[in-house]
């Protein structure tokens, strides 16, 4: 009975998600052939750790993209929230530092949401401006200097601790992934989200609070960007005002690779998770094979194109 239900759940997955899982499995098998010990528990842990941060922020980006918007400010939010937390390190209060870090992300996300959905500025412009503002504020706040949370084990736990027997970043990747899957697939908010992105006008006429939905997803995206910033900073014991350069595009690439359409209305958290893992597996394998970073960037881009292209073709033919 359980097996039947599970099989049915798998069959219910969109074909494109299944295709991505297939690509991931193929890459893992290729890794096993090319690099002995590739499928070891240790290496799987390294891959998951390397994609945890980007995966978490990509969940938020996926929600924003499903709603028909875009959030290019995630790297700025990660840096600014980190520096707000860093400014409070001398207080010695982990609760204050961590809550201020996460609250900053939520607040900036809220501003993004208000500017986009209430004032009506396109999210591309709003979040691009916010990226610059947040980065600059981080520099002003920090005086351009990095901070070191070495003396705050609660903060470092986010990077190097454990939760339910897993490394904290991996546990958070899975827990937040599960929460967002429930949110998108099994809640009224999820249905409102897809309706908002699919046809905003129809959603309004159906009584869906489109503005509130968009503000909420921007707040979630801001929160997750702050979480990613804290997680990565904790992992390196180093809060750097110059960090995360270009991360917004990496996150967007993972989101698109995961099947989200920039036009809105489609995308899945599972697809995003698998996409993050594909990128992680490719990078890990190429590093182990000693392939230059410059070639890696080309290969990663080609993998994205190869995975995304069939989906695009089917969408074009569907029209």
């Amino acid at each position: 009975m359980i097996r039947q239900k599970l099989t049915q759940k798998v069959l219910d997955l969109p074909k494109t998600d299944l295709a991505r899982v297939g690509v991931l499995i193929a890459l893992l098998l290729l890794g096993a052939v090319l690099s002995p010990g590739y499928l070891s528990v240790g290496n799987m842990r390294i891959i998951l750790l390397s994609v945890a941060g980007i995966g978490i922020v990509a969940y938020g980006m996926t929600l924003v993209v499903i709603s028909g918007e875009i959030d290019l400010s995630v790297a700025g939010i990660a840096v600014l929230s980190g520096m707000v937390g860093a400014a409070l390190l001398p207080s010695g209060s982990a609760v204050l530092v961590i809550s201020a870090t996460l609250a900053t992300g939520i607040c900036v996300g809220f501003i993004n949401g208000i500017l986009t959905s209430v004032i009506g500025i396109p999210s591309l412009i709003t979040t691009l401006a916010m990226l610059g503002i947040a980065r600059s504020l981080a520099n002003i706040l920090s005086g351009g200097q990095a901070a070191y949370p070495d003396a705050m084990p609660e903060y470092l736990w986010f990077g190097s601790g454990t939760l339910f027997g897993l490394a904290t970043p991996i546990a958070l990747l899975l827990i937040i992934g599960l929460c967002t899957i429930v949110l998108t697939q099994y809640s009224a908010f999820g249905r409102a989200l897809y309706a908002t992105g699919g046809n905003s006008r129809a959603a309004v006429l159906s009584g869906i609070p489109v503005k509130a939905v968009k503000i909420t997803v921007f707040m979630i995206s801001g929160f997750l960007a702050a979480m990613m910033g804290m997680l990565e900073s904790a992992r390196l014991s180093y809060i750097n005002p110059a960090a995360f350069a270009g991360v917004e595009l990496e996150v967007l690439a993972v989101t698109v690779l995961g099947g989200a359409a920039l036009a809105g209305g489609s995308g899945s958290i599972l697809g995003t998770l698998v996409a993050a893992l594909i990128i992680g597996v490719v990078n890990n394998l190429l590093n182990q094979l000693g392939v230059s970073i410059y070639v890696q960037q080309v290969v990663t881009a080609l993998v994205i194109l190869a995975v995304v292209l069939p989906g695009l073709r089917s969408r074009i033919f569907a029209k």
Binding site: S40, N43, I46, Q145, D150, Y238, S292, Y294
Partner: protein
């Protein structure tokens, strides 16, 4: 003429080498003739460069030849200091960084000295522009600190500082603006060599002296270049490794391909260890000065090999990323010599704390605290334009600095310094483990 990397680089070399024979700068005090650390390291550089073609280590030689390190090393200037200056540990002034607000001890404040007070014509205010990139970068903020400190010592210098935020076009526009405003002198830290040549040439044609700091421009008419000691960095990393190990598998975390820091430091390192047969290049990554990239590359390399003995890093950020990955994988004690050997550059306070804790083995200092030299040289050039003194030489090399190790050592005649003996580290203080 066939256009090769060697011939292209050679053009810059010719101008650099020609200036090495330029007359000494007239105002500096002369110092004694004892063999300084600077001269000794230059002797070792010449010795290892002379035998680079005979490297017996095939793995090291393959990388050395493939990336064409000799072409870069051949043209990187090494030579004597201006007016026979001899630097010794302990020299230099202490102050609070005007921008970083951090405590600074700058090593070279006695080099090309300039007395406090009005410069040149005391009735005139001299407008000087300093353009660089990166108020959010600890190394570069420290560089700016030393420029601003020196300017503040002279009441008739008015300094304008602009951050071009790693945008070459913007830096060019800033320089053009200062030309229009007829500034008296321009100081710059160029990110890349080629794009800054034309704006510098325009300033020189307008009669405005220009001095570059740390990195070079493609201008052959620039007034002076204040250059660091990349060659000494890589050489000392190699000497240290040769001293403490006879072999092992190495993973290299390097800066951007083709950057001077990468070419010279990595090349000089390979020139030294290429003479030992036991070292094997197990991994070679360009992690582009990013701690997170170095972390990931090292984490992956640790998975790829059970035998990982040495982590060579062309910069401090790379070393700290590598250290984080090794600690996360719980592999610190897994090297052939009982511990993975981590070699670093850039003497940030964070690195020194890690050396003191025994986590990073050595660092070859590359100090950002050289902006003051540039400003003093620029004043010299402005004075020369006004016919008040002789112009400083075109090439101003900064002194080679000895490596820092946890315990005091003497390696091929270089007496290393311990972290406690190194007051020149830059960046914020970190808690010691």
């Amino acid at each position: 003429m066939k256009l090769t990397r060697r011939t292209m680089l050679g053009g810059t070399a010719a101008s650099a080498l020609a200036t090495l024979t330029a007359p000494n700068f007239a105002w500096a005090d002369s110092h004694g003739g004892m063999a300084s650390i600077h001269t000794h390291i230059n002797t070792l550089i010449a010795q290892y460069a002379g035998t680079a073609g005979d490297m017996p280590n095939a793995s090291v030689k393959a990388l050395y030849d493939r990336d064409g390190f000799r072409d870069y090393l051949e043209i990187y200037p090494t030579g004597e200091l201006v007016d026979g200056f001899v630097w010794e540990p302990g020299m230099g002034a202490e102050f609070e960084g005007p921008y970083s607000k951090l405590a600074i001890k700058a090593p070279f404040t006695d080099y090309i000295p300039l007395a406090e007070g009005e410069v040149l014509n005391p009735d005139k205010t001299y407008r000087i522009g300093f353009v660089f990139h990166g108020f959010n970068h600890p190394w570069l903020v420290s560089l700016a600190d030393t420029v601003a400190w020196e300017a503040a010592r002279h009441p008739n210098i008015e300094l304008e500082v602009i951050d071009a935020e790693f945008d070459d076009n913007r830096m060019g526009q800033v320089i053009d603006t200062w030309i229009t405003k007829q500034f008296d002198g321009i100081l710059l830290w160029p990110s890349r060599e080629a794009p800054m040549g034309p704006p510098v040439d325009r300033a020189i044609q307008a009669g405005i002296p220009v001095v570059s700091l740390d990195r070079r421009t493609s201008s052959s008419s620039i007034s002076s270049e204040v250059l660091g000691n990349f060659y000494a960095n890589g050489l000392q990393q190699g000497l240290y490794l040769k001293e403490v190990a006879t072999g092992g598998n190495m993973v290299l975390n390097r800066k951007d391909l083709g950057s001077t820091a990468d070419s010279i430091r990595t090349g000089a390192f390979l020139e030294v260890i290429g003479h030992e047969a036991g070292f094997e290049v197990a991994g070679n990554y360009h992690t582009n000065s990013q701690r997170s990239m170095a972390f990931d590359a090292t984490a992956d390399a640790l998975q790829a090999s059970d035998s990982f003995d040495i982590s060579f890093n062309t910069g401090g950020e790379e070393a700290l990323g590598a250290l984080g990955a090794i600690q996360e994988a719980d592999r610190m004690e897994s090297g052939d010599s009982g511990k993975i050997i981590i070699l670093a550059n850039d003497d940030a306070k964070e690195i020194l704390a890690k050396i003191k804790a025994g986590e990073i083995d050595m660092v070859a200092p590359y100090t950002p605290l050289i902006g003051d030299i540039g400003l003093r040289a620029l004043v010299g050039h402005i004075g020369a334009v006004e016919g008040m003194n002789e112009a400083p030489p075109k090439l101003i090399l900064t002194p080679n600095l000895p490596m820092v190790t946890r315990e005091k050592m003497t390696i091929e005649g270089i007496e290393t310094l311990t972290p406690d003996e190194w007051p020149y580290a830059y960046g914020p203080v970190v808690s010691e483990a």
